[in-house]
Symmetry: C2
Subunit: 328 residues, 2 copies
């Protein structure tokens, strides 16, 4: 059987994660990595895989699915519609408020090119969205709760790094156990921002910096920290490197619903992720659904789809018959 030929656009954390995930899927191979950098500056993990400049995508490449590994702020709004005209594509666009706009642009492009395009795959948006919808479909009467963490927030870490006197920083978002317990108990609490998550910051300060001033600037920072209970720890560069170099993350989607004629019974559904590597797991989800992109395109389907539109059978390597026998 011919392997599904995957193109990777962008070789940061996500692109490397895609490369690792493809290695775990026997029916796939990395055909090429595309980059805006000098291709000679990149050494892929996969032996023998070619690294090309992004411009080569302008002439048709021998790939089945192009996985777009750029950022949602500026890369994907431009790249996904552009390449959906020429290739079957999948992205992890995660700017929730701009999804309708992104969908419209990608849908138009994919239809123009006769290609299949999947957007917003990963875990949130992605598996968490799917969990929310399944639980809400089954339990129309109820409340949804999403908690994130414990995990590193890149945006919050960057915000701390911009403070004067800060050399490096890492911020962990941590769900509040008491809130989780109340939700799991079916109490359907109304939770404030402060009651749902705490924020823990590890900061390497420059020599001679005013630590109290840095700490105060962090905990009072609007939008990022002011609405949360925030703790700040000053550590050395060595400690930062030794203990905080990973990108763990995770979270919980919980629906607390009611069943029964008088809504007298609780049904609590919970989907939980605990990830040593956030980008590697995100990539793993994308790669599974790249299989679905390929299969739908092979059937002649075109246009844009999200995780709500794709039967899981398309993303799974086994046949429907095998799945019914072993997994249903």
């Amino acid at each position: 059987m011919d392997k599904i030929r995957i193109g990777i656009l962008g070789y940061g954390n996500l692109g490397k994660g895609v490369e690792c995930a493809v290695k775990q899927n026997e029916d796939m191979e990395v055909a090429a990595i595309y980059t805006r950098r000098d291709p000679a500056s990149i050494t892929p993990l996969t032996e023998g895989v070619k690294v090309c400049h992004v411009d080569e995508l302008e002439t048709p490449q021998d790939i089945d699915v192009l996985i777009l590994c750029g950022g949602s702020a500026t890369d994907l709004p431009e790249q996904t519609p552009k390449y959906a005209k020429m290739y079957n594509v999948i992205d992890s666009f995660d700017n929730h408020s701009k999804i309708p706009e992104h969908f419209a642009a990608v849908e138009a492009a994919a239809k123009e090119g006769g290609k299949m395009a999947f957007i917003s795959f990963g875990w949130d948006p992605g598996l968490f969205s799917l969990a929310r919808v399944i639980m809400t479909a089954a339990l129309p009467k109820g409340e949804n709760y999403t908690f994130w963490g414990k995990g590193v927030s890149q945006g919050h870490s960057d915000a701390i790094r911009r403070i004067e006197g800060v050399k490096d920083a890492r911020q962990y978002t941590i769900p509040v156990e008491k809130a989780l317990d109340a939700v799991r108990a079916g109490e359907n609490p109304e939770l404030t921002t402060r009651e749902k998550h705490t924020r823990e910051c590890f900061v390497v300060a420059e020599e001679g910096a005013d630590l109290d001033k840095i700490k105060n600037e962090i905990v009072t920072m609007p939008a990022y920290f002011a609405d949360y209970d925030t703790t700040v720890h000053f550590i050395t560069e060595e400690e930062m490197k030794a203990e905080h170099s990973g990108l763990p993350h995770g979270g919980f989607v919980i629906r607390a619903g009611k069943t029964g004629w008088e809504e007298e019974n609780n049904s609590i559904c919970e989907f939980k992720l605990s990830l040593d590597s956030n980008p590697e797991f995100t990539s793993s989800v994308i790669v599974a659904y790249a299989r679905a992109v390929h299969r739908m395109a092979a059937e002649g389907q075109i246009g844009c789809k999200t995780i709500f539109d794709v039967p899981i059978s398309y993303a799974f390597p086994q046949t429907a018959e095998e799945m019914r026998k072993h997994l249903l």
Copy 2:
């Protein structure tokens, strides 16, 4: 908008659960309840709904989807293929080893009749199966674990009731916390039957019965209890009625997977249910997917499908556009 007209065949715990779930879905209504009993002996919860003898299904009824609420041992193997020739149907067939056989029979019948048929919906099979497949698709390297409980096992309760001197019994299946913790920690343990679940039994004995003999018969019963750590409590009829009349259940599907080039990182995915009423939740899942049956049939699709084949968008009341905007 016309409501989706639901027929309910069988008015036990599951049929009543369907009736309760339909009440929570504004785009549906119970058209009729069909029973093998004397229809006059049944008083539905829904005001004004008609109760018919099952034989009336032989002449075409004005229903969009017939929900089959019988048992998997003898009812569904006969009923689902039979009615799939005449109606769009959905069942909760849960005899895992016989699913391929059941699928083949229902597929042939639905195609013959030009109808849409869904089989094995509920939570296991059903949502748990879907969780297993999604997690396995995303994490090809890893192990799946399923734990059940805490919840009432009807089969084990019945087995105790057949012992001489037992008037009534209720058996709870309980997952072992230590095993759950090891799985969640990514230790990928190999677990024996005894290490995964314990069994707790509440027994009302007949007056003068030999309690030690009953207890011994329970804990040594092959297949049901001999391989488990089992505790037995003798209680009064009043205690049984007051404290053990519900049908709670639930469980956990956990995939402990690896990501990274050398599989050096853990990704733990967990889907958990905690249900005050097992039959009501099962019914709620079935009713949501009855919407998908209706929509697929309206598109002219025919044949048999399982939860692996159905995009969640078909089971959700909102439009794809609304779902992308609010839930992705």
